[in-house]
Subunit: 354 residues, 2 copies
Amino acid sequence: MDIRFEKREHLQEKPDQKNLGFGKHFTDYMFVMDWDKEQGWHDAAIVPYGGIPMDPATMVLHYAQETFEGMKAYRTAEGKIQLFRPEMNARRMIKSNERLCMPGVPEEMFVEAVKALVKAQEDWVPSEPGTSLYIRPFMFATEASLGVHMAKSYKFVIITTPVGAYYAEGINPVKILVEDEYVRAVKGGTGFTKCGGNYASSIAGQVKAEKMGCTQVLWLDGVHRKYVEEVGTMNIMFKIAGEIYTAPLEGTVLPGVTRDSLIHILRDWGYKVNETHLSIDDLMKAGHDGTLEEAFGTGTAAVVSPVGEFVYKDDSVIVNDFKIGELTQKLYDTLTGIQWGKLEDKYGWTTPVE
Amino acid sequence: MDIRFEKREHLQEKPDQKNLGFGKHFTDYMFVMDWDKEQGWHDAAIVPYGGIPMDPATMVLHYAQETFEGMKAYRTAEGKIQLFRPEMNARRMIKSNERLCMPGVPEEMFVEAVKALVKAQEDWVPSEPGTSLYIRPFMFATEASLGVHMAKSYKFVIITTPVGAYYAEGINPVKILVEDEYVRAVKGGTGFTKCGGNYASSIAGQVKAEKMGCTQVLWLDGVHRKYVEEVGTMNIMFKIAGEIYTAPLEGTVLPGVTRDSLIHILRDWGYKVNETHLSIDDLMKAGHDGTLEEAFGTGTAAVVSPVGEFVYKDDSVIVNDFKIGELTQKLYDTLTGIQWGKLEDKYGWTTPVE
């Protein structure tokens, strides 16, 4: 792929690595590439980060033909930079785009673009413990037209932002509201994709949870309103009587890279991982009879996010005395150890940016 | 409301009224207004139509917090301009925005903005039979941030485009695919809103229908995959054994202004209108035993769109010999008669733009 480079006159000052937050500071450059039917993908370029002029009739502003990905670049103790399973993000974006009738960026092209952008601004990959460069590839319909149809042109953009440790004071368990009014996904819909519409519709549940003193939402399936699917914008796993449970990938749940990696590690450690439908009634029952040992969300941003309490209608259960579980901590340490190059990468999951 | 007016230096040449198409030509001006928590709605202005610069981290491009409306301005035989039930669009947008956790534009402000924009460019309202000025109010999150949350700032925009008769050669029945794989909406989701995500997820069904030689999709409910809900981006009505059937407004179906108006007219004419769940099996059965007399989609763009055939799995039924039904035609003539001021507006549905 031929990537044009447009030099920026003045580079920004870099933010304090100890106060990065999440998605607040954007780096000096972004990757852009356009698609249309005649030329396919063309005009790949790394250009100064900045505004994209948009016609008010641009289809993405009306019909939300838009998808995204989330991944990170990690700086190792030796000062090298590595990515974690970037080909998984590339493939997932292709699947998202298929469902949304958008063109896919071929896997090699996607990974090459990510690497080139990170390499071009390697000084932006922070080195403080727990920090990383968050990478946000996204694509949207650019045709200016008001008919509802597959757009004739798209833009693929990658922006990057240095981010701090997700949990400034270590990972703490959170209180979760089991949502029985709003639905995140249903089979036949877009639940397995990272399309904008999924996130827009989820905000109401999040707002409601916060009003009720909870941090996040546990989503139930849209048909029976019974089976546990995701927590907030993460996958979720449970340890019940020594075995692991997580929702199966049947079209309503995001195929998380962290989810997949943790399942690999857990099975490697000899755990039985059940990718199966777990009902909220069985979960609450396990909470009450003490067999629910641990519960945690999994995702790129937080890696693992322990759950301390589930609130469902008039009932609630505390998990592991509202303390992070032993297995949860071990999974966090192992996966982040591989990602930051502190532990041996026996699965071959990391890719150097050279 | 104080609306600033920013004059455009050169007005565009107006397109040929006989070849307008849909959403191809945009007028000289647009309405814009911004919202943030501190100021609420502010900076209302009518400005030259043109590009809106957008930071690549703008939330609408990632999480699709965006809603829209669709309505028309009609030119009467006397040369006057009128709107059709604009307060219904205003109220529906407020409902859409509530679900998406976006601020609402108050009804009076919404209608005033629409009128001011139409008035400012009244020369753009075409006069050829069947033509109108399509009005597209829309709103989107403008905050530049990658956290998934209710955005802190929004933009409300209205653009307008002169449109031709939806059916250049009169209204013709179309062939419809009953979709049993993709789902448009489920209770607890966003089906009753005009949010971008609904439309993005619907494109795959449309593409599939076209591949199978059909013009549009008939959506079934997301839970039982059994009850008839909408057709394409329209509501749908059936005349079976002399009575009218249409899906009830229970959260999965758009509360269409045309739907509501036709129900009023039909009941006024003495028809029994059943807002109830009609199963696809009962529909196909009615098609086979001859009691399915007419079927038509209803919406702002096409007003009524007759269905000539339903294809469901290996079965198919022809409606009214693939000809437009008598009632369908009468409804079309009556509603468009009121909208263009050719018939008496006994319901008080039209509002002059003065």
